[in-house]
Amino acid sequence: MQRFSSIGWFADIGLADRPSVGGKGGSLGELARAGISVPPGFVVRTAAFERFLEALERERPVRAAVAALDPDDLAAIATCSGALRARVEGAVLPDDIRDAILAAYEELVRGVPDAAVAVRSSATTEDSEDASFAGLQDTYLWTKGAAETLRKVQSCWASLYSVPSIAYRRKHDLPEAGVAMGVVVQLMVDARSAGVMFTRSPTTGDRTVVTIESSWGLGSAIVGGEVTPDRFVISKITDEIAARDVSLKLAQHLPADEGGVRDAAVPEAMQRAPSLSDSELVELVAIAKRVERHYGRPQDIEWAIARHASGTDAIFLLQSRPETVWAARDGAPVAKPAVRPMDHVLNIFGGRR
């Protein structure tokens, strides 16, 4: 019998493994393999979720209960969701899965003082072409200790049965059998600054620039819309900083002593200061270009800069997924070759602008 494997380390997985590790896990593994710095970690494979779910199904149906729901009956969805989440969070993990996660966890945090990990959902349909599915499942930042990590893994699994997640799958008629979840467990970066970057302008679709949004502390403050980030537009070709809008940043997310994330005020001196230096901008752009080249298409990237490190060692990527909005819009060429080069000047002189 083939030995069952619950764990996949980033170094051993890639995009091709998405069915077995989920989109986020596959993407992080792919980045790590491409030599791009990501916080070390592993994925609890979807197979572990399947095994866990089988045990639940034997008690009472799970998938069938979801599949039977009417997408428009939110009340029924809510009732079903509450029951399923409680079951998933309350069930006992099979011993072998539990042991495998604990062993991997111990290996991950070995030698790291006061280690904290992020426990992130990595659903199989997530981060694929269908980007809007992303973000429906939960992520737990700054989780401390083995027991808490195990609990959060189950919480991630349970988030597959959250109201919005079920509603989305029902609305798009996604088969429950095809829905599985991997869970990423990786070391947290104590971010001084964090944010997102787009290897093509989110506002104009321009492929020649990288747009970087950045704020103080953990990136969750930006993703959650709690702060207006600084915004920089940098040419991929000339490295010229074409736009630099430094915003007033009042809030930040910082790690809480007891674990998890707390809201904190940004000290006054930092509120109007740029959250990235020019050299950090240049380094981020270089990384963005590498990632885009690796994937062969524009990417949306989450990144963080560690508080107690410097230079290139300080920058970590937390996520990279294909840009989908502009990719769908690319259409007619801006101009076509003319019979003679000078025919083009009529665009200016002929008033046909």
Partner: protein
Amino acid sequence: MNIQPKPKAFPLPSQVKLVKGTERAQAMYPYFMQFTRADDERFWFYNAMHFPEPMPAFDTVTGEAAYHALGAFNTRVHVLPTVLGIDQRIVNGRVYIGGNAVTDPKEIERRTAEFQQRAFYYYEHWEDLYANWRRKMAALIEEAQAIPTPDLPEFDPLEASHSGRGIASNHFVLTAYHKTLDGYFRMWQHHFEFLLLGYGAYLTFFDFCKKAFPEITDQTIARMVAGMDAEMFRPDDELKKLARKAVELDLDSKFVEGASAEDILKSLEQMGARGKEWLTAFASARDPWFNVGVGDGFYHYHRSWNDDLSIPFSALPGYMRHLREGKSLERPVAALKAEREKIIAEYRAMLNSDEERGAFDQMIGLSHRVFPYVEDHKFYCEHWYTALFFNKIREFGALLAKWNFFADGEDIFQLTRYEVEAALSDLMTAWSNGSAPRGPDCWPNIVKERKAALAEWAKHETPPALGPVPEVINDPAIVMLWGITADNLNAWLNADSLADTGEIRGFAASSGVVEGIARVVKTVDEIARLQEGDILVCHVTNPSWAPIFRKIRAAVSDIGGSMSHAAIVAREYGLPAVVGTGTATQKIKDGQRIRVDGARGVVTIL
């Protein structure tokens, strides 16, 4: 009653008040340059780029000649489909200009057919026609140099009498004056023979880049097109060569900072063979490369390096110090070229399709073909010929001064070109008849009054624009050279509200962020006040200012687009620059600390 908030607008021409006591001076400008009521219907902007100071009477000849030529080539020669010529008006000594557009679709269509027969011929035969242009300009310069100095001897030369010339000396005063004017008007015709077609090709490429790469900066597009060997860099390059030569010959101790050019030249003459070698190199460099004007516009008093060696000589000690310290003065031309090719290739690769790449290749190819003219004509027209012309007029000034028409030959520039002809006719009459000329009783008071008016006008700020703001500005020259777009005008209109934040916006001309002390330089005479590390704030700059770009940390100008001198030179020197701010010289006070963000086009008063 429905009360609408009054939209922000520039004053109407009729609302501009003449400065008190200058009414008679205002009347010196030809009637067709005076504002009328009908002009209230049109949009005008202050041409501070070419005429940043109040206009002396004679100097208005430049506007006349230039706008004749520009309009003729647009309207009648190349027959641009949508763009005609530019009208000018002068009030309080300030030149306002307004473009004429064609909007009727039928007329545009008719003109387009003409344009394709005419302008397309130019694009097709560009290199040949441009080679021909260079020959024409060389001949024109030679002709101007051959015009004899006007002279009225007591008796006509004996040989003229014996050869049966049959024409007396007074007539040659008139012909020399006519030839001088004729040459200047012809030079301006040549100037506009290619210019708008060149700008049009560039703007076409610019427009394409803005659509294909919406976030691209103007300066990056300019970098893809600009040449590295442009002749406008040549005077500065020649100066560097002379600095190198002095160091090689171990003569640099003679170039004492603060010493006059005259004293330095004298001391070199006493240095024997070494001195002679340098002086020979100097003589060959200055003809023609020192025929570069030091001014920021077209004024008789902005002399060329040749006429006033103080600017080039003040740059020499610094260049020599650099060389002695082992630093290079060379512009890294090969590296700049390689960089340009790399940028072009990378943008090209980012296009969406081979179709777009095909169009890109055609447009940038055309831009590269036409651009040498756009960059190089300035040296021959605006600098060399213009210096020659004003010096020729000085010879007539000297003649009139000799006959006591005024105290100083320079006073001739207080007369319009028409009045000069009248004064010369007066003199010709007096010389021929043996009577006294009337001019000495007439001109001195007028000259005095006009000089006072010019000084008074210079003290008054003038609005950056007049009349209703047009919805679109489709004149390539206006957009590119003056940096005037509908957006820009709105920014100028809102300059007051921006003043609260201490921010002034303009064209992002050369990237980088720098803070420093602002040195507001309103006229070329003030250049000397610039100190190492200052930020230059000026109306507009000129290629001959290049040596001072080594001194300053950043440049800000009222006027100019992404291809203006300040922008090009700043990029070349790697200095942050914001151009086309409209009001920087008014808003920023000398000595204030400012931040220049050349990538965003924002200047902040700190």
